[in-house]
Amino acid sequence: MGHERLAEHFLDLIRRASTILPPDVEEAIKKGIANEGEGSGAASTLKLLLENSRQAEEGSTPICQDTGSLLFFVEIGPDFRQKEVEEAARKASAEATAKYYLRPNAVDAVTGKNSGDNTGLGMPYFHFDQMDEDGLKVRLLLKGGGSENVGAQYKLPDGKLKAGRDLDGVRKCVLDAVFNAQGKGCAPGVIGVCVGGDRGAGFACSKQQFLRDLGDTNPDPALADLEDRLFTELNQLGVGPSGFGGKTTVLGVKIGKRHRVPACFFVSVSYVCWAYRKASMTIKGGEVSHD
């Protein structure tokens, strides 16, 4: 049934996430290189990103030393129990740390003590959805700290930005967040946005945008238009790769929405660096596949 070796499957999932740059991200960086033009400083910085990722995959070493927070998004069928999945993922996180796929990254917020194995209160993070059919689908994001630090949440209307409670107001918030981030989130990044929700749901939804493929199209036409417009505008900011200047400040913009209460209009902006590490696995009838 795939239960016995569950921790092993999780370990392989973590290894792939930490050491292999996803194909859609590689594609986006290559487009950036073409756009910047051969011989430019920005293009040579972007090439270093690809060279690093090639070396990481070849040696099974982390693409970036900040292997971030482990965020597991799990769709679970009736033949799996949430508890066994969490246990397997925790065991695998500790194992992956021992194998240097992950840096020990879980720090007690009061004592400052590092747990040494990437487990702790709320670490790893899990999000579960129930499926009707048997099986397990897991998507893992490794979200680095530098990029997490440049995320921001806005409350509309915003007088300073002259941003109202509409999509143009949302656009201004995203411009502001990416401008403020400069190169600090290891540009070029991918921007996940949520319009609406409460503060907690807003950030959760903004991060779920990172589960999408960079090449997909938003099913909501108004949001699809805003994604395109922001992609163009953010790349006109001039921050560029590593913040050294250039035309490639973001690799993608993905926007979701949540219903909100009438009194609140939050815009939550999450930033993920170019080392946008994600991997997935599906377990069905004892077979494991990657998609």
């Binding site: 690093n52 070493t61 030393q65 900040d66 840096r103 530098g146 201004k172 600090k184 790769p241």
Partner: protein, 192 residues
């Protein structure tokens, strides 16, 4: 590409200009938040001799231990601005000639670079495997137990470590230039 050999003199460092690509060889030390606090609160007895005319690397590496030998597996730069409250004092007190990190630092550090003959260098954020390959030897580590792997002070020997001078000792900062240019673009796009 300018070759820099550590230890390096203030005169050599003053020849560097913002925008110069450099390749660094020699012994340097990693230090981030806990280490900077420590360097200010004590006189850093374990590291002060090495720091003189050397460089600090803002990095929290992934480190492998085989027997008694450590090696760096992944070692890209971490965000430098967090050390802004400390760095000018650290440069002054220890005679540090270069600070390597990502994202740039502020006015206080830029001023200290001018005053003491030091530079801030950017390594490309996230290229951890490539940079770990230029760390050819881990010579020592301090405060490993107390600070943990990412925060400990690792004494490392690097060979041809690639970086770009982004803040020089003549008051020029590429980070300030990019921030200024992008602010103009931002204001235009915002329509305010």
């Amino acid at each position: 590409m300018t070759e820099i050999k550590l230890p390096v003199s203030a005169d050599e460092i003053r020849k560097l200009k913002a925008g110069d690509e450099v390749s660094i060889t020699g012994v340097m030390i990693t230090a981030r938040d806990a280490a900077h606090k420590y360097l200010i609160e004590t006189d850093g007895p374990e590291v002060k001799e090495i720091l003189k005319d050397s460089m600090i690397y803002h990095c929290g590496p992934v480190v492998k231990k085989e027997g008694d030998v450590y090696s760096f597996v992944a070692a890209g730069p971490t965000t430098s601005i967090r050390e802004e409250p400390y760095e000018a004092d650290v440069i002054d007190r220890y005679g540090v000639r270069g600070v390597i990190g990502k994202g740039g630092m502020g006015a206080k550090t830029l001023e200290a670079c001018g005053k003491h003959g030091s530079v801030y260098l950017s390594a490309v954020g996230g290229i951890a495997t490539t940079l770990a390959r230029s760390v050819v030897e881990v010579l020592d580590v301090h405060k490993l137990e107390e600070f943990g792997v990412p925060e400990a002070m690792w004494v490392i020997r690097v060979e041809n470590f690639p970086a770009v001078v982004t803040m020089d000792s003549h008051g020029k900062s590429i980070h300030d230039d990019v921030a200024k240019q992008s602010r103009e673009n931002y204001e235009r796009l915002l329509g305010t």
